[in-house]
């Protein structure tokens, strides 16, 4: 699995990534995606990551980037 920018989160990240890849191929692509089965793992992983992002000082940068990209992405997918 790819490394996290927060090494302390690597383990939970790997569990989440594995869950996501399985869910994507076996459920989402077959139209059975009503439940987001990996939500619990993601929550744990994200809270581990939040700490590290803050410490590295890039949490603000990322929030701003996410806000500006959401709209333009929706526009482009319409094409």
């Amino acid at each position: 699995m790819s490394a996290s920018l927060a090494p302390e989160c690597n383990e939970i990240k790997e569990r989440y990534d594995t869950c996501f890849l399985k869910w994507y191929s076996e459920k989402y692509l077959r139209g059975n995606s009503a439940q987001d089965e990996c939500a619990g793992l993601f929550k744990q992983y994200r809270s581990c990551l939040n700490k590290a992002l803050k410490e590295k000082g890039i949490d603000q940068m990322i929030e701003e980037a996410r806000e500006t990209t959401a709209e333009t992405d929706a526009e482009h997918l319409k094409r």
Partner: protein, 185 residues
């Protein structure tokens, strides 16, 4: 000054396999060796829209981007943080990724868009990949006087990385197909 270019590639694999491969691109040791410029990948956000069935994901990607010594002197670092936003529309079978740098923005703006759609000539079996990249050195930055040179160097590096990316994708697609033989989507 902006350097922009577009590329197209046909994957002779179904859209489901290609998009699954895209999610796996930065994982596993062999791929990591090929795509050694990608240091870290983290999922920041992940949302499934129950009504539209669209999957929205945001990831933070850390890239090792060493420039020539004269760029390194000005920019001061070899690491670039990027954000990749992805929308997968499972119902209409379309996936789009947009990656932008969020650090080094006072020097450079890079945006790369990739789309994966079923190939019009063979929608069940092939996938069309369209990629558009734009590189812009900020006009008032310390790099502005050598903008053209730096943009050219970046473009060359990106093209090299695209080739590696496609290699990795083809490798994963073949692996996924051999795994799923007998299972139809």
């Amino acid at each position: 000054m902006v350097k922009a270019y577009a590329q197209e590639h046909v994957y002779k694999h179904p859209w489901e396999i290609v998009t699954s491969a895209s999610w796996r691109k930065f994982a596993d040791p062999e791929n990591k060796r090929t795509l050694s410029h990608v240091l870290d990948v983290d999922t920041l956000n992940h949302k499934l829209d129950a009504e539209s069935g669209k999957l929205y994901t945001t990831r933070a990607i850390t890239i090792h981007a060493p420039g020539p010594w004269f760029v390194r002197k000005i920019v001061g670092q070899d690491i670039c943080h990027c954000v990749e936003s992805t929308v997968v529309d499972g119902q209409s079978r379309s996936m789009q990724l947009t990656t932008r740098n969020i650090s080094l923005q006072k020097f450079i703006e890079v945006e790369e868009r990739i789309r994966y759609d079923p190939h019009p000539d063979n929608p069940r079996g092939w996938t069309m990949c369209k990629q558009e990249t734009s590189i812009r050195i900020k006009p008032l930055s310390a790099l502005a006087s050598m903008a053209e040179k730096v943009e050219q160097r970046c473009a060359e590096r990106f093209l090299q990385n695209s080739v590696k990316g496609r290699e990795v994708m083809e490798r994963i697609c073949k692996y996924l197909e051999s795994e799923s033989r007998g299972i139809t989507f």
